[in-house]
Amino acid sequence: MADEITGTSGTIMVVGGGISGLTTAIEAAEVGHEVFIIEKNPYLGGRVAQLNKYFPKLCPPTCGLEINFQRIKNNKKIKWFTMTEVEKISGSPGNFDVTLKQNPRYVNENCTCCGKCGEACDAEISNVFNFNMDKRKAAYLPYEMSFPQRYVLDPSIIGTDTARKCKDACEYDAIDLDMKPKTLNLKAAAIVWATGWNPYDARKIDNLSFGSVRNVITNMMMERLAAVNGPTQGKIVRPSDGKAVGNIAFVQCAGSRDENHLPFCSYICCLASLKQATYIREANKSSKATIFYIDLRTPGRYEKFYKKVKEDANVSFVKGKVAKLEEHPDTGDVTVTAEDTISGKKIQKTFDMVVLATGMEPSTVSEKIPGKGTYDENSFVVPGEILATGCVKKPSDVMSSGQTATGTALKAIQTLVRR
């Protein structure tokens, strides 16, 4: 690929290839505009790709993502760049100059996903896709359905014998160990920031003991545990001893609505926990789930889902925020302390595993826009010269992310027309 990539005066650059970025890009491209998608990861799909099921229809993520990938493939107006980050933005709407940095994948378009390089690879790395709950080969496909369907070599093995072995195993001449980082320059008329969110670092909530009590996990880890392509092939077992989880607790507002952490409501966590309660209930008929909450927030039609879960006698609800989690030294069980504010009693209950409903931290907390970005007090992007959509603008679920992304596509198009 040339170092100078040409955008036309009508180009829209979408940064972030998650559900919001994809939607904005596709909607704009399908009405005839040229769009560039810039994605940091080696795959498109973002957080949705990590989910087991997603709202509103509780489909597996491949369902919705596949359609979008198909639309991208069939549309010549869309160009996408994975493993690419934005380094600098100058200029103004209608006339942006963007510097991009593309990191080497070490695997080219010849890759057929035969998997021979992975078999030959003798080095393992932590699997960030599964929130480090397992390891994967240093020559890997990010996940089964990942787009593009192309392996990646982890930079840590470059220059070692392992990399050589991977290259020798490839029958298609798809591995290129000499790939170097590339700087690309792009002209764009409109920029949409759609870099999404990161799960809030649960370690920071010291009284919830994430990281020290072994059987305390986060809601995003729970998605991976429940997913068939996850670290346990979809079996919900606890980290300390692999025991099947029969009795689970959900701790709502773990970091959200908390001035010491994330002062805002993360919007999705109540429904995520209700949904995850169904994971465990469907997996094991005798299982029990308890949701500890301050207020359950089930916006719009989601109230129906809440009512449905509530009908299940094995799902109980305690109104009171959990503020202490302790590990039983012999069994590894987790003791939860909360005040049941309805009865006015401070209670302790023991569970096989506890899920923290951690919230959404906008990705712009850790990585700011390298240009004229404007933010609110919580580092969410406030659309200005650079537009924004999805969870980097406001915590949202997939459905409303899709809707606002379409709206943002229109905003971006307006920028082009207004010139």
Binding site: N207, K321, A323, E339, K346
Partner: protein
């Protein structure tokens, strides 16, 4: 329609809590109950301070006052540090305790006066004027010549004894009336607590009182604070400093009236040694109290006027006491007598206003702790 309870929110009371150190953030509490969970000194049944936050928001004065719980709280500030809304339950309960002291104060106007910075000068003027008048009548309103002997040349023992014994009596009456009112309210409000009044858990009252005093001597309960854990030690120093000085005073009375031996006493005398050591313990204690407050200010807040008035009085008493002795030994008369005068004023302030200042916390907290053991409110052992 079912009979409901009519709740009458007292909005002025709510405003007063916010002004007395509870803070504007009181209304931000959304009842998540993090505070009740992180609190290490609350009973498990009807724990505080979550319910007190609700009562404070609603201005339910009677529920707050007629309940031992506000005094079971030791202001650890674990709740404040972990509060997701910055609503400061620790400070709110501190403010409610102050208002409770004011509520039970006898005579009532003194309760208002001592707790309000507007009347600080007036509160100070009373002991200053009283002492000035007495010293003036004795014809001692000047810096005396020669060797410094406070009792002989400035303030005779008989005058001191009369003034301070009367002040102590006045305070005692205030305490007796206040505690009686409080005890009656506690009994009346007992249906809010776990067991009924009749169910005594630890036997007869005198034994419970002794138990409570033993518990207090070790500060067993206070040591459970996490965020401001260092406070129990400094508080213990202040307490034992005062105990030592009280013993010293009694001892001096024996010297004076039983043995007819007048002050000043030599530094090598065991009574004098006890007095000096106690003063140093008190000084170190109160300085640590101040340091702890400054150190914890970020998490626990700096404290209210009410807290600082008391701290300042104790600090003044101990520093002027030590200085009076040092200046006397160094024979710096023009400083010694004025410093001694300030010492007398601050001690009188402490004595006379004890039932209205933060000093009263000692008696009210003790009462509440005894009551909670007596009534079965406590389900934890300390």
């Amino acid at each position: 329609m079912a009979e409901g309870t009519v709740i009458k929110p007292d909005l002025d009371f709510v405003k007063k809590i916010m002004k007395s150190g509870g803070g504007d953030s009181l209304k931000k509490c959304y009842q998540c109950a993090t505070c009740s969970v992180v609190c290490n000194v609350t009973p498990d049944d009807k724990p505080f301070p979550r319910k007190e936050m609700l009562q404070a928001q609603w201005g339910l004065k009677d529920k707050l006052f007629g309940n031992p719980d506000i005094w079971l709280c030791h202001h650890c500030s674990d709740c404040t540090a972990y509060c997701p809304r910055g609503a400061k339950p620790g400070e709110v309960l501190g403010a409610v305790r102050k208002m409770s002291i004011e509520h039970y104060a006898f005579p009532g106007f003194l309760g208002k006066m001592v707790g309000d910075p507007k009347y600080l000068l007036l509160a100070l003027a009373a002991p200053v004027l009283l002492l000035l008048v007495v010293i003036g009548l004795l014809g001692n309103l000047r810096i005396p010549e020669g060797e410094i002997i406070y009792a002989e040349k400035f303030m005779p023992v008989i005058a001191i004894d009369t003034i301070y014994i009367l002040a102590a009596l006045f305070a005692s009456v205030g305490f007796v009336v206040g505690i009686k009112r409080y005890w009656n309210d506690l009994k009346a409000g007992v249906e809010f607590s776990t067991n009924k009044w009749q169910k005594m858990v630890k036997g007869p009252l005198p034994i419970i009182i002794v138990n409570q005093i033993v518990e207090f001597m070790t500060h067993k309960r206070f040591k459970n604070c996490d965020v401001t854990g260092s406070r129990s030690f400094s508080h213990l120093l202040v307490f034992f400093g005062f105990v030592g000085l009280a013993i010293t005073t009694t001892w001096a009375i024996v010297y004076l009236y039983a043995m007819h031996w007048e002050s000043p006493y030599p530094l090598s005398d065991p009574m004098k040694i006890l007095g000096n050591v106690s003063a140093l313990i008190l000084l170190v204690g109160i300085l640590l109290v101040i340091l702890n407050r400054l150190k914890n200010a970020g998490k626990a807040g700096l404290g209210s006027y009410y807290d600082w008035l008391f701290i300042c009085i104790v600090l003044t008493i101990v520093t002027t006491g030590i200085l009076s002795e040092v200046l006397r030994l160094k024979e710096i008369a023009h400083l010694a007598y004025p410093v001694y005068f300030i010492h007398l004023v601050s001690v009188l302030f402490l004595f006379a206003y004890a039932p209205f200042s933060k000093m009263a916390h000692m008696v009210y907290r003790m009462t509440a702790l005894v009551f909670s053991k007596y009534s079965g409110r406590e389900d934890k052992k300390f």
